[in-house]
Protein backbone atom coordinates (compact mmCIF):
# COMPACT_ATOMS: atom_id res chain seq x y z
CA UNK A 1 0.00 0.00 0.00
CA UNK A 2 1.27 3.50 -0.86
CA UNK A 3 2.00 5.82 2.06
CA UNK A 4 -0.74 8.23 0.98
CA UNK A 5 -3.13 5.30 0.70
CA UNK A 6 -2.18 4.17 4.20
CA UNK A 7 -2.87 7.69 5.46
CA UNK A 8 -6.25 7.69 3.77
CA UNK A 9 -7.28 4.39 5.30
CA UNK A 10 -6.05 5.50 8.73
CA UNK A 11 -7.95 8.79 8.44
CA UNK A 12 -11.11 6.93 7.39
CA UNK A 13 -10.79 4.61 10.37
CA UNK A 14 -10.10 7.52 12.75
CA UNK A 15 -13.12 9.37 11.35
CA UNK A 16 -15.16 6.27 12.20
CA UNK A 17 -13.93 6.60 15.80
CA UNK A 18 -10.85 4.35 15.89
CA UNK A 19 -8.35 5.69 18.43
CA UNK A 20 -5.94 2.98 17.30
CA UNK A 21 -5.90 4.44 13.78
CA UNK A 22 -5.41 7.92 15.23
CA UNK A 23 -2.49 6.61 17.27
CA UNK A 24 -0.92 5.31 14.04
CA UNK A 25 -1.39 8.75 12.49
CA UNK A 26 0.44 10.27 15.45
CA UNK A 27 3.22 7.73 15.00
CA UNK A 28 3.54 8.58 11.31
CA UNK A 29 3.34 12.38 11.56
CA UNK A 30 4.80 13.31 14.95
CA UNK A 31 8.21 13.91 13.42
CA UNK A 32 6.93 16.36 10.81
CA UNK A 33 4.79 18.30 13.29
CA UNK A 34 7.44 18.46 16.01
CA UNK A 35 10.20 19.38 13.57
CA UNK A 36 8.06 22.16 12.11
CA UNK A 37 7.25 23.53 15.57
CA UNK A 38 10.87 23.32 16.72
CA UNK A 39 11.92 25.40 13.73
CA UNK A 40 8.97 27.73 13.98
CA UNK A 41 9.29 28.55 17.68
CA UNK A 42 12.90 27.63 18.52
CA UNK A 43 11.99 26.29 21.97
CA UNK A 44 12.02 22.49 21.87
CA UNK A 45 10.07 21.94 25.08
CA UNK A 46 7.38 24.41 24.02
CA UNK A 47 7.40 22.85 20.54
CA UNK A 48 6.70 19.39 21.96
CA UNK A 49 3.92 20.76 24.19
CA UNK A 50 2.37 22.47 21.19
CA UNK A 51 2.74 19.29 19.15
CA UNK A 52 0.77 17.39 21.80
CA UNK A 53 -1.86 20.14 21.79
CA UNK A 54 -1.96 19.91 18.00
CA UNK A 55 -2.82 16.21 18.05
CA UNK A 56 -5.34 16.71 20.86
CA UNK A 57 -7.04 19.42 18.78
CA UNK A 58 -6.87 17.26 15.65
CA UNK A 59 -8.82 14.33 17.13
CA UNK A 60 -12.23 16.03 17.44
CA UNK A 61 -11.70 17.76 14.07
CA UNK A 62 -10.60 14.69 12.11
CA UNK A 63 -14.03 14.53 10.50
CA UNK A 64 -13.33 17.84 8.75
CA UNK A 65 -10.26 16.48 6.96
CA UNK A 66 -11.37 15.96 3.38
CA UNK A 67 -10.62 12.72 1.57
CA UNK A 68 -7.31 12.79 -0.26
CA UNK A 69 -6.08 15.85 1.65
CA UNK A 70 -2.50 15.96 2.93
CA UNK A 71 -2.54 14.86 6.57
CA UNK A 72 0.83 16.41 7.39
CA UNK A 73 -0.20 19.74 5.82
CA UNK A 74 -3.45 19.69 7.79
CA UNK A 75 -1.62 18.88 11.04
CA UNK A 76 1.06 21.52 10.41
CA UNK A 77 -1.73 24.04 9.78
CA UNK A 78 -3.21 23.31 13.22
CA UNK A 79 0.29 23.45 14.70
CA UNK A 80 0.92 26.84 13.08
CA UNK A 81 -2.28 28.29 14.56
CA UNK A 82 -1.42 26.83 17.97
CA UNK A 83 1.99 28.44 17.74
CA UNK A 84 0.58 31.84 16.76
CA UNK A 85 -1.87 31.67 19.69
CA UNK A 86 0.94 30.74 22.07
CA UNK A 87 3.04 33.64 20.75
CA UNK A 88 0.23 36.11 21.32
CA UNK A 89 -0.47 34.88 24.85
CA UNK A 90 3.24 34.91 25.68
CA UNK A 91 3.66 38.45 24.37
CA UNK A 92 4.54 40.01 27.69
CA UNK A 93 7.20 37.52 28.67
CA UNK A 94 8.62 37.69 25.16
CA UNK A 95 8.96 41.45 25.47
CA UNK A 96 10.88 40.95 28.71
CA UNK A 97 13.11 38.37 27.02
CA UNK A 98 13.74 40.71 24.09
CA UNK A 99 14.79 43.48 26.47
CA UNK A 100 17.13 41.06 28.23
CA UNK A 101 18.58 39.88 24.92
CA UNK A 102 19.12 43.47 23.77
CA UNK A 103 20.96 44.39 26.97
CA UNK A 104 23.05 41.22 27.01
CA UNK A 105 26.49 41.33 25.42
CA UNK A 106 26.34 39.07 22.39
CA UNK A 107 28.82 36.19 22.31
CA UNK A 108 31.66 36.43 19.83
CA UNK A 109 30.73 35.47 16.29
CA UNK A 110 33.51 32.90 16.21
CA UNK A 111 32.06 31.09 19.19
CA UNK A 112 28.78 30.44 17.45
CA UNK A 113 28.51 27.38 15.34
CA UNK A 114 26.40 27.27 12.21
CA UNK A 115 23.46 25.71 13.94
CA UNK A 116 23.16 28.44 16.53
CA UNK A 117 23.60 31.02 13.80
CA UNK A 118 20.79 29.37 11.88
CA UNK A 119 18.54 29.33 14.96
CA UNK A 120 19.27 33.00 15.60
CA UNK A 121 18.61 33.91 11.99
CA UNK A 122 15.37 31.90 12.05
CA UNK A 123 14.31 33.71 15.22
CA UNK A 124 14.75 37.03 13.41
CA UNK A 125 12.37 36.07 10.61
CA UNK A 126 8.73 37.20 10.81
CA UNK A 127 6.45 34.31 11.95
CA UNK A 128 4.84 33.57 8.58
CA UNK A 129 8.17 33.75 6.76
CA UNK A 130 9.71 31.48 9.36
CA UNK A 131 6.89 28.97 9.00
CA UNK A 132 7.27 28.96 5.21
CA UNK A 133 11.01 28.37 5.51
CA UNK A 134 10.48 25.62 8.10
CA UNK A 135 8.06 23.80 5.83
CA UNK A 136 9.58 24.32 2.38
CA UNK A 137 13.32 24.40 3.02
CA UNK A 138 13.56 22.09 6.01
CA UNK A 139 10.67 19.67 5.55
CA UNK A 140 10.40 19.34 1.76
CA UNK A 141 6.87 20.69 1.56
CA UNK A 142 5.90 21.93 -1.89
CA UNK A 143 4.91 25.61 -2.04
CA UNK A 144 1.32 24.56 -2.68
CA UNK A 145 1.30 22.24 0.32
CA UNK A 146 2.76 24.96 2.55
CA UNK A 147 0.18 27.45 1.25
CA UNK A 148 -2.58 24.98 2.16
CA UNK A 149 -1.11 24.32 5.61
CA UNK A 150 -0.53 27.97 6.50
CA UNK A 151 -3.63 29.29 4.75
CA UNK A 152 -1.54 31.76 2.74
CA UNK A 153 -1.64 32.61 -0.98
CA UNK A 154 0.82 30.61 -3.09
CA UNK A 155 2.67 33.74 -4.24
CA UNK A 156 3.12 34.88 -0.64
CA UNK A 157 4.61 31.53 0.31
CA UNK A 158 7.04 31.67 -2.61
CA UNK A 159 8.22 35.17 -1.74
CA UNK A 160 8.50 34.27 1.97
CA UNK A 161 10.67 31.27 1.10
CA UNK A 162 12.88 33.27 -1.26
CA UNK A 163 13.40 36.12 1.20
CA UNK A 164 13.80 33.83 4.19
CA UNK A 165 16.32 31.66 2.37
CA UNK A 166 18.33 34.72 1.34
CA UNK A 167 18.44 36.01 4.93
CA UNK A 168 19.51 32.63 6.30
CA UNK A 169 22.29 32.29 3.73
CA UNK A 170 23.55 35.79 4.51
CA UNK A 171 23.57 34.98 8.23
CA UNK A 172 25.50 31.78 7.58
CA UNK A 173 27.89 33.54 5.23
CA UNK A 174 27.07 31.15 2.42
CA UNK A 175 27.54 32.31 -1.15
CA UNK A 176 24.38 31.60 -3.08
CA UNK A 177 24.82 30.11 -6.52
CA UNK A 178 22.32 30.78 -9.26
CA UNK A 179 20.25 27.66 -10.04
Amino acid sequence: MKLEGLDESLVAAAQAGSTEAFSRLIERHQQAVRAFLRRACGDWALADDLAQETFLAAWPRIGRLRAGGSVRAWLCGIAHRKHLTARRSAGRSRTREATYEAERTPPAREALDDRITLETAMADLPPDQRACVALCLAADFSHAEAAEALDLPLGTVKSHVTRGRARLLVALGVQDEPC
Binding site: Q30, R39, F55, L118, L137, R165, L168, C179
Partner: protein, 102 residues
Amino acid sequence: MNPADDRLKALFAQDAPPLRDPVFQAAVMQRLAKRRCVQDLAFLGGVSALGGLAMWALWPILQPVLTAISGPLAPGAAALAAALSAVAILGGFGDHAASADA
Protein backbone atom coordinates in the same frame (compact mmCIF):
# COMPACT_ATOMS: atom_id res chain seq x y z
CA MET B 1 19.26 21.63 -5.39
CA ASN B 2 22.45 23.72 -5.05
CA PRO B 3 25.11 23.42 -2.30
CA ALA B 4 23.61 26.33 -0.33
CA ASP B 5 20.29 24.52 -0.06
CA ASP B 6 22.06 21.28 0.81
CA ARG B 7 23.85 23.04 3.63
CA LEU B 8 20.64 24.58 4.95
CA LYS B 9 18.91 21.22 4.79
CA ALA B 10 21.77 19.49 6.61
CA LEU B 11 21.66 22.10 9.38
CA PHE B 12 17.89 21.84 9.71
CA ALA B 13 18.14 18.05 9.84
CA GLN B 14 20.15 18.29 13.06
CA ASP B 15 17.12 19.33 15.09
CA ALA B 16 14.72 16.76 13.64
CA PRO B 17 12.97 14.56 16.21
CA PRO B 18 13.24 10.77 15.83
CA LEU B 19 11.18 9.09 13.10
CA ARG B 20 9.34 7.05 15.73
CA ASP B 21 8.81 8.18 19.30
CA PRO B 22 6.62 5.81 21.36
CA VAL B 23 6.95 8.04 24.43
CA PHE B 24 5.49 11.05 22.63
CA GLN B 25 2.80 8.89 21.02
CA ALA B 26 1.84 7.37 24.38
CA ALA B 27 1.78 10.80 26.05
CA VAL B 28 -0.68 12.13 23.46
CA MET B 29 -2.91 9.06 23.67
CA GLN B 30 -2.88 9.25 27.47
CA ARG B 31 -3.94 12.90 27.41
CA LEU B 32 -6.59 12.07 24.83
CA ALA B 33 -7.98 9.24 26.98
CA LYS B 34 -7.98 11.53 30.04
CA ARG B 35 -9.79 14.26 28.14
CA ARG B 36 -12.41 11.82 26.85
CA CYS B 37 -12.89 10.40 30.34
CA VAL B 38 -13.45 13.90 31.77
CA GLN B 39 -15.92 14.69 28.97
CA ASP B 40 -17.80 11.42 29.56
CA LEU B 41 -17.92 12.06 33.30
CA ALA B 42 -19.17 15.60 32.77
CA PHE B 43 -21.87 14.31 30.40
CA LEU B 44 -22.96 11.52 32.75
CA GLY B 45 -22.89 13.91 35.71
CA GLY B 46 -25.06 16.39 33.83
CA VAL B 47 -27.54 13.72 32.75
CA SER B 48 -27.71 12.33 36.31
CA ALA B 49 -28.24 15.78 37.77
CA LEU B 50 -31.02 16.50 35.27
CA GLY B 51 -32.63 13.12 35.97
CA GLY B 52 -32.47 13.69 39.72
CA LEU B 53 -33.95 17.15 39.32
CA ALA B 54 -36.77 15.81 37.16
CA MET B 55 -37.53 13.05 39.69
CA TRP B 56 -37.53 15.57 42.51
CA ALA B 57 -39.91 17.85 40.61
CA LEU B 58 -42.23 15.03 39.48
CA TRP B 59 -42.17 12.94 42.69
CA PRO B 60 -45.42 14.37 44.11
CA ILE B 61 -47.18 13.21 40.92
CA LEU B 62 -45.30 9.92 40.48
CA GLN B 63 -45.52 8.68 44.06
CA PRO B 64 -49.32 8.05 44.20
CA VAL B 65 -49.29 6.47 40.71
CA LEU B 66 -46.40 4.13 41.57
CA THR B 67 -48.00 3.18 44.88
CA ALA B 68 -51.26 2.37 43.11
CA ILE B 69 -49.77 0.20 40.33
CA SER B 70 -46.98 -1.52 42.26
CA GLY B 71 -49.35 -4.12 43.87
CA PRO B 72 -50.95 -5.53 40.70
CA LEU B 73 -47.75 -5.26 38.59
CA ALA B 74 -45.34 -6.87 41.09
CA PRO B 75 -45.82 -10.56 39.98
CA GLY B 76 -45.52 -9.65 36.27
CA ALA B 77 -42.41 -7.54 36.87
CA ALA B 78 -40.78 -10.36 38.88
CA ALA B 79 -41.51 -12.89 36.11
CA LEU B 80 -40.14 -10.53 33.46
CA ALA B 81 -36.96 -9.94 35.48
CA ALA B 82 -36.46 -13.70 35.93
CA ALA B 83 -36.97 -14.31 32.20
CA LEU B 84 -34.51 -11.55 31.23
CA SER B 85 -31.94 -12.92 33.68
CA ALA B 86 -32.31 -16.41 32.24
CA VAL B 87 -31.87 -15.09 28.69
CA ALA B 88 -28.82 -13.11 29.72
CA ILE B 89 -27.22 -16.09 31.50
CA LEU B 90 -28.03 -18.65 28.79
CA GLY B 91 -27.04 -16.24 26.02
CA GLY B 92 -23.71 -15.58 27.73
CA PHE B 93 -23.16 -19.33 28.19
CA GLY B 94 -23.93 -19.88 24.49
CA ASP B 95 -21.30 -17.26 23.48
CA HIS B 96 -18.66 -18.92 25.66
CA ALA B 97 -19.49 -22.34 24.23
CA ALA B 98 -19.24 -21.00 20.68
CA SER B 99 -15.88 -19.34 21.34
CA ALA B 100 -14.59 -22.52 23.02
CA ASP B 101 -15.62 -24.56 19.96
CA ALA B 102 -13.84 -22.09 17.66
